[in-house]
Symmetry: C2
Subunit: 252 residues, 2 copies
Amino acid sequence: MAATAVSQYYLSFHSIPEDGGTWRRRRRRTGSSVCCTPPVPSIPSSSPPPVVGPELSLSFGAHVIPHPKKVEKGGEDAFFISSYNGGVVAVADGVSGWAEQNVNPALFSRELMSKASSLVEDEEVSYNPRTLIQKAHAATSSVGSATVIIAMLEKNGTLKIASVGDCGLRVIRKGQVVFSTSPEEHYFDCPYQLSSEAVGQTYLDATVSSVELVKGDTLVIGSDGLFDNVFDHEIVSAVGTTSDGVTNTGIS
Amino acid sequence: MAATAVSQYYLSFHSIPEDGGTWRRRRRRTGSSVCCTPPVPSIPSSSPPPVVGPELSLSFGAHVIPHPKKVEKGGEDAFFISSYNGGVVAVADGVSGWAEQNVNPALFSRELMSKASSLVEDEEVSYNPRTLIQKAHAATSSVGSATVIIAMLEKNGTLKIASVGDCGLRVIRKGQVVFSTSPEEHYFDCPYQLSSEAVGQTYLDATVSSVELVKGDTLVIGSDGLFDNVFDHEIVSAVGTTSDGVTNTGIS
């Protein structure tokens, strides 16, 4: 059975220089209900996304843009992609604080992704992203720590996600973010993290969620370097969509 | 088998008078990786949330606070809760624009919730929130339209969610939002909506997601009247938690 492409996938690690920040006001309204006058312009109910459709799979694109000060060493982020089943994608972000202890922060994140990649088809993992985090973490021997997110697509359209820390994922459908993960932090700028040390978190601390994808959805997954520096509406704008939902613009 | 309370549940419909808004800056950093020095203070790995634990169920609390101009008619929001299985909760928000056509916007949302409530245990619904939206919508006869969100907890901890429009849900764990739904809108302030008219959306337009809950999680679910007027960190602060995750403060 032929797999239908769900999305153009952008794996992005953005490090954007401080620009003074942009002040943003969240809309505040006095009303508790919606205000548009019915009948509203709408997506015709005759052309909804298919609930039971063809098998789905991901198509991928990736960008790694290290922090300018980390370019020489290739940055501290790592990722892997796999076409197994509907597609698997994962991102890990090495905790930079380890550099103060003369440990290359990239080693742990890279080993974590390498181990996870080799375990994707493992029977005991059973295509469960939390279990994949567990087994990949257990297989590491490097000193360090990292945040991690793993997303695994079932061909029926269910995207299963497990995340420890502040890597993130967005699902963009028809020009808007319809699903978003939330970061886990101990306090500002100190995320939950898998570690070589006993004080770190484990797969048991992962937030586990899922979302039903439809053909044409675009996933954006990355480290906090992307989501701390680029607003969702900017990501949506950069991704862009054609009328059939096919991505026509990448994040660069 | 005794069900263990997952959470104190707050069903909130807030209509907060315009206060001029609060300007907020999203944190912007130059780094793409986390900055805290390891080992970080952490939640000991010896006391993680249980992955396979006792059966879970929801305990509920609810507040309905209509817009001041809508108090006389009781507001346009509606909800229902059910203890079936792990617990079911739903919110619908009647589209206020119908008032311009001399239609009480509350009628549709109330009937939608009434029908959904009566269908919770329906075999064909099969404890699927999207199917519940489908069948409840089909059962309505009122003129009007509404946004809707339905959340159904499996006793194994899986909270299944379907949403059409801009009602929302947050999962709060240990003082932070770890899961959040995203609104569906045609354009600013005009959400996707189920309608008595053919131009509206259907269950096929629902965003369907799920999240694994653990004991002590707090859910906050409500209409856009809550989430447009109260920031997530304000919700977290209002909810509060004790060290064991049990809610000790409600949203009022």
